[in-house]
Symmetry: C2
Subunit: 290 residues, 2 copies
Amino acid sequence: MAPEFRPDGRLHGACVGILAGGGPLPAQVARAVEQAGGRVFIIGFQGFAEPGVIGHWPHRMVRLAAAGDILSGLHAHGCRDLVLIGPVKRPSLGSLRPDATGARILARIGRALFAGDDGLLGAIVRVLGEEGFTVRGAHEFLPGSVARRGVLGAVGPDASACSDIVLGRDVVRQLGRLDIGQGCVVQGGLVLAVEALEGTDRMLERVGSLRQPDRPGGVLVKMAKPGQERRADLPTIGPRTVAGAMAAGLRGIAMEAGATLITDPAACIAMADEAGLFLAGIGSGDEKII
Amino acid sequence: MAPEFRPDGRLHGACVGILAGGGPLPAQVARAVEQAGGRVFIIGFQGFAEPGVIGHWPHRMVRLAAAGDILSGLHAHGCRDLVLIGPVKRPSLGSLRPDATGARILARIGRALFAGDDGLLGAIVRVLGEEGFTVRGAHEFLPGSVARRGVLGAVGPDASACSDIVLGRDVVRQLGRLDIGQGCVVQGGLVLAVEALEGTDRMLERVGSLRQPDRPGGVLVKMAKPGQERRADLPTIGPRTVAGAMAAGLRGIAMEAGATLITDPAACIAMADEAGLFLAGIGSGDEKII
């Protein structure tokens, strides 16, 4: 629990702004901030943030492009540090309906609006910095939810799974350089599926019908993109990912250590142990994988 | 119509063996061989080759792994040159039930059975060479079905489509180096989907729900893998691909010139023209794309 911005790791009543998309992580960040002695103000993006998740804290639900509301809310609560957390689906320009401030900011984001996710998120982080905020990574607040290196549960990958992990890591690194996806599935040397805009859950859905029946089950590999804006879009797994891997007949999940968020580590490990799946935190380089 | 193995481009009654998977291309190769003065004997793989397509010619339907039957049939008809054409789904080892010759050949293919498609097909071509056959590419017999460079129909890609094509070509080349797929879909700088084992048709199916409503439609890019065994697995498009691209809201299809087979060029061009889609044959290098 050590955000780097206070020498003693305490927040001394400072207010951290949380820009919240879907899923449970915004609440986990809010709890972690409070435990470190800070306060939070949550901007919940309409259509993505779940009121049941963020409702416990001071918050405001706003449209994604209502930048005027967002900035005024954050300033009114004295937020200087921000965290962007939880998935937000890339909106269509036609649906954005930006307010006046939003239109100015969209112009500053400019061409990055049409780039891959990493380019877009990088531009948003840059603009927030220009507005006087410091954008922090959720992983700075949730060290217990960051995948550590090695075998996370009771089951480890065998030699053939390790060789699939090495191939999958190569594949995802190549994809990541092109700002495409963060995951792929490999089974016995064969790349079954590669993730682009559809996301991990939908990729796992199609893997069920692509699996090869005559060899050990496949492996899901998730890696951050090289040079990725780690403050905005870390690879994330959760119980739903583990359930998807089980349904697809996989042997396990390998994820980049230090760069993957696990939404509910205890539940993920319990599910994986029960199903005989491995969960492994791996290195990003060419060194030994676990 | 110039298979390279006769100085005059004529086959002088020689018998060409066609190892046939699905689709209409085996019949097109057979017709082309006859027009060049040759004969054919077709091995139709059970479960893939369509009896209505190959039934017009001397043929035998065999299981994929019945290598003894395959080789004896080819030898009995005096075939020296072979063509592998038409899709065959990678079988499971458990379903293969090889005959005695098949078991010996599987042992020679060895580890490549578990590699990507290109490694497997390369090994099959090698083994057929060791058995005394010369494996020819279908494109040697069907020059009229090989995508030529440039705009193939009435519609051409505009500047923004060209920039999507350049990105897509980079993506597919990176994938191809890893022996993954041969295609991807790019829309306005964003990679919507990447093809692995599911194939082009299934990739196009999911693109419909991933398309971005606020920018011009996406582009399908198909390229041969660098170093690919071109005698066994060229990228192929046909009317079904064009229909899938239309349903996915794409603007067009770019394919590697000289290395993509079009199963029914006239029908593809007519469909594309009617729908306002472009079909473009592009270079594989970094030069101007069309």
